[in-house]
Symmetry: C2
């Protein structure tokens, strides 16, 4: 067997560990009994270490070198696969085994503490665990930096949004900062003239479930290779051949589960339509979390909250939710779907204010990793930036401030930017698709997403990791990631 | 770190792979979407190979040798743990990697074909896949035999019922064969004089579910560390810290789910009460499938179908199942719980006829592995033995004959004897506990199982794999496994 095929076989094997971790992780959130968490966390951590140990086998480096010498004989997808393989293997070598173990353990401890202490608004007892984790995160970033020739924080970013650097992100985010605060105020002022929107009507959970199942089928989610369940925090997990979406239900706010489900369906469609032939190989995986978020936010915001699609959506809501009840006016529901308001909690933020939550986190985490900022000063900086960017104070309110997200306590530094990179890309894709489809408005009005899905499948989903992110964005849209599309999307949607 | 502790750490790590496989396996039966099976089977098979690859690392043999030299410095549990570690590592070395992979793949293919072809009664298309698997099973048995110095079939037995050999099993089973066919006829004749028992009343599934949950709590199953769900074939899976029991519901036969649940609870109590301190080590695991079955059959048959316990049970049934309906007479229900009848399907067989199903399979599989019998001759031999042992013909009825069980198609040769070894041990344990508890009848009548559970916890559950099976049985009951107890148990229960 030639060396390249040996590497393919190796990654097929590695893929089984990812498969296991993904299903265990879903199970932990959806099925696992209350007292089984310690054993599960230990098992997951050990699987992580096993994977790392296998990846740092010196034989792999020899294989890499041999394939490198004959790389020109590989066809296009194999070459891209080899590029991704190399990155994974070198990335594994970048961090010493002891540190991998220590980091995995510290993240597990910190996350478990967070689950309890966030509810208690208990920053004081959380801080030492977070400090310990941060020191290890810095050490990891530094070890990666030495091998990969990038800054430490860029190495962390690269795990989630491969190929984009902090200086590129800063440039994009600074553009967003230059227009978004004023635009937000303009939109909020504009919405004051809207007819006053009262609360959504209460909807029993079983009706919301039926609505969700109906919508995901309409969007094209393949139920023979996936499930929709309930969890505390919605997510899309599993593996491409077995996608596990979750949502959560709130009787007094059906929008939450509905939009959450549309969001996760965006992730799910991407995963279910990745190139089947390469499902077990690195090149067959989704391109990164930034591209992933562009898909989920596209389906949640660009489609789910679109005024044309709403003409299709409202009758579906009537059928599933409003039977026999007082039917609220379509305008009232639509307004509720698109009400803009500055708020404390990122996951509840609307599409207009959301990027400022991300920019805040991005600026803080890059300083935490570089050492410019210490963990103990986090609440103060958070409060300052919240006041500056969103006009809200989180002083002494850790629960709704710097303790609100699971990302840092679970060790995921460098993840946050992907949300807003995704949301910018979503608006860019939305514009390009609109330009390409002569029947765009009519299709949306009829809930016919075939053109959109065909376009996304062609340009994004079926491409897996064949291209780099930049190449993918350029080949799909004809230009680089450009925040002007986001600005224009918001202006057109909210002010025209 | 000394070498023994290195081995412990290693097995803690291996345990994570077992944890993953166990939960994935539960998920496959309970949660997985219809079309995700191929990817799951591949992942499970790869995990199996990964585990094998890690176990055959030559460093482990060096560690074993170093610990061996200082084994006397280990305390009792460590010594036993080391004995089990050694067995696992040497067992992994016994089979070549290529064969492990080929066997895992062939078993996966054969099992998937079986799932379809059994329903079609399609022996013809199943045979070539089964022949391929059998050849590999023989090769595996032979490779094991060379390393472990036992016959090939004994090596396979040892995976499920460690420490017992084919010649010991033959001796025990021959004793059973000497009394059971005549005793069965005697019991059937005796039951003819019973008042005729008609069908069980139909019971809605949600009521059966509530009954099951009530019973498992009463038996002491810890719901904070386990679940009860529904699957096509009932089983008890998961890990000691997270036990996943399943059952199946049949509206027209509540006994099936109820007794199935009591059976799985026997397995679950054993797992949940294994020594916590050793949960991740080989010595902390259940002693073997024969001991495991003794626990499940104890709770299903010795308790669940016991006339004294029935005095407690019937009011529970009334509360949960018969509300508002015509309440059947207790005697009628009790008789239905204990009706003896020769039948085709092992999993539906009663406790009296069950061992003949097992003896048949034991005799056949040992001949299949030794080469005395070929796969193509299986239907004929099956039919002949069914006629001899149970007076029933399975000619051309593969579905209800030699294709009825998943064990062989999934590659589990050597498993079947554990069921009947367990049932014999259950009656021996039942006798000893009855002797030890002065309030035995009263306790059973009140549904108070504290004495029984205390005894089993003390003698069996808390022992993990500290002792060999023979030592465990001897230390618990004061003698070796003795089929006379089974004979006397049946006579007393059905003829007195």
């Amino acid at each position: 067997m030639n060396e390249y095929l040996q590497l393919e076989k190796f990654f097929t094997r590695m893929n089984a560990l990812d498969h296991a971790s993904a299903i265990l992780s879903w199970d932990e959130s959806v099925m696992m009994p209350a007292q089984s968490g310690v054993a599960r966390a230990a098992a997951q951590s050990e699987l992580h270490v096993i994977k790392h140990e296998i990846l740092i086998n010196p034989e792999l480096l020899e294989l890499l070198q041999k394939v490198e010498e004959n790389a020109s004989s590989l066809h296009l997808w194999e070459q891209a696969n080899f590029r991704e393989m190399k990155k994974i293997i070198l990335r594994a070598h970048a961090v010493k085994k002891d540190l991998v173990e220590a980091y995995s353990l510290a993240a597990s401890e910190c996350q478990q503490a967070w689950r309890i202490m966030r509810g208690e608004n208990n920053w004081k007892d959380f801080l030492p665990l977070f400090e310990k984790l941060l020191l290890l995160a810095r050490a990891e970033a530094q070890q990666r930096s030495q091998t990969m020739g990038m800054t430490g924080y860029d190495c962390l970013l690269d795990q989630f949004s491969p190929g984009i650097t902090s200086s590129e992100i800063s440039k994009i985010f600074n553009q967003v900062k230059s227009f978004l605060p004023a635009l937000t105020q303009e939109i909020i002022d504009h919405q004051k003239s809207d007819p006053s929107s009262t609360d959504l009507p209460p909807i029993p959970i079983h009706l919301q479930k039926n609505l969700g199942l109906s919508l995901i089928k309409n969007l094209g989610f393949d139920m023979s290779k996936g499930r929709l369940d309930t969890s505390h925090h919605p997510f899309c997990g599993g593996v491409p051949q077995d996608i596990r979406m979750t949502t959560r239900y709130n009787i007094s706010n059906f929008m939450e589960s509905m939009m959450g489900t549309m969001h996760e369906t965006g992730h799910a469609l991407y995963e279910q339509n990745l190139p089947t032939k390469w499902n077990h190989q690195p090149v067959g995986m989704a391109r990164g979390m930034d591209i992933h978020e562009s898909q989920s936010l596209f389906f949640e915001n660009c489609i789910g909250r679109n005024k044309h699609f709403f003409k299709f959506l409202f009758p579906v809501l009537e059928t599933h939710l409003f039977k026999g009840a007082n039917i609220p006016s379509p305008q009232r529901i639509f307004n509720l779907f698109n009400t803009i308001k500055r708020s404390f909690i990122r996951v509840n933020a609307d599409e207009v204010t959301y990027p400022m939550h991300i920019i805040l986190r991005y600026e803080i985490e890059s300083d935490l990793i570089s050492g410019k900022l210490e963990a103990k000063d986090l609440p103060e900086v958070w409060d300052f930036k919240m006041q500056t960017y969103l006009g809200l104070s989180t002083k002494d309110d850790f629960k709704n401030g710097c303790m609100q997200d699971v990302h840092w306590p679970s060790g995921a530094f460098g993840y946050f930017p992907s949300y807003s990179l995704g949301s910018i890309l979503a608006s860019q894709l939305f514009y390009k698709i609109k330009q390409s489809d002569p029947n765009f408005v009519e299709n949306l009005t009829q809930g016919n997403l075939n053109f959109i899905k065909g376009w996304l499948n062609d340009k994004i989903w079926s491409q897996g990791s064949l291209l780099t992110s930049q190449e993918l964005i350029f080949s799909a849209t004809g230009e680089s990631l450009n925040p002007s599309y986001f600005k224009n999307y918001l202006k057109e949607k909210y002010l025209e």
